[in-house]
Amino acid sequence: MDTLLRSVVLGIGMLFGIIRPEAPAVSCRVYRDDAAVFLNAEASRAFPQEALKLLESGNELDLVFLVSVDDRGEWSLPHSLRYDPLTRIYTVGIGETEGVHRTDSREAALSIASRLTGLRLLEVAELEPAGLSVSVSCALESPGTDASVIWNYGRPEARVRFTAASGIPR
């Protein structure tokens, strides 16, 4: 109920322009080695003050990276953030590695959650001669809360396209 009320307040605040969150953005870099093609991505300004309040009041936040390669479907890679007010420890769960990182530094936790590093997209042998198209978008989710209101219902996206496989940087 409390979180619902918070969402409503945030929504009203944004509707009247009282709360103006800086728009989040996502950037990405696709590169390859001899065997595979990888992706690095970073979401900037993903956690404005409202998100931090939500997080530090005991709610879980998921920054979900949605990655699609050509028409091979979409991967949903959640980076979950939790805060324990008793121990003051932030826990970051990284979906793609299933790694869990704990720190008492908020800045470190947010920085870990905001990045997707070295995601193996496909093998070099699987590359189509026509090239490669990769898109990365982000969504902010929180179980039981409409967290997308924090981003003003926006979903930042970055796209890269290589017309030939040889054009992918190393």
């Binding site: 990405c28 870099r29 970073e42 530094s105 920085s111 590093t117 995601l119």
Partner: protein
Amino acid sequence: MKRIIAVFILVLMAFTAGAESRSEPQIAYRILSDFVFQEESSANDRAWTGVMLGIGGGLMAGSAATWFLGDAVAEAVAPGNSVWNADLKTISTVAVGGVGVAMAGAGLIGVLMPPVDVRKKYNLVYGEKDPVVQEALAVAALKELAQSAKDKRVSSAVYGIVTPIATLAVQTAFNLAMGKEWNHDYSGVVTWQVPSIVSSITSLFTLSDEEKLYEKYNAARAAIYAVP
């Protein structure tokens, strides 16, 4: 049934292979470590202690020589002179010896001083076992270093610009109070203050070493994540 299980396992394997990822390179950690190493080297550079001990020891030896051989040397250089007397001998011995003891003492303190532990300041980073968290903490440390260096640089530059202006204002008020031209003796003040103003303006637009470290990290980050 076996076929369904096989397909399920294949799909699972495909997803696992796709979601495999490399660990993040520890760029910030390396930059910070290099900075800490340089800071440690310069903070623990004890070359000056040898120089101080050498000069101090030399002066103490000179002091002893003045006391024991001063009379003979003075007599040999200028026989029967009246300048060199017991008072001058005592003053010379004490003065030279005193400076020698002070310099040798400072050198000895330098030698005995415990090494400066710069790493202690970054215990949070160096004590972290998880490389991902360690890198993120190193980024935060670099950012904090840069911010504090920027604050210091800007406040020092503002002080350097405001002080000459305030000096000129005081000079003007003084001139008017004394019934002189408002800009009387301005040239002296301006000439004296110009280097300070120029250096302050220059420092306002010149990044400090710590800020350059963070810039270096940001350049690396932009290359890794294509951050605009």
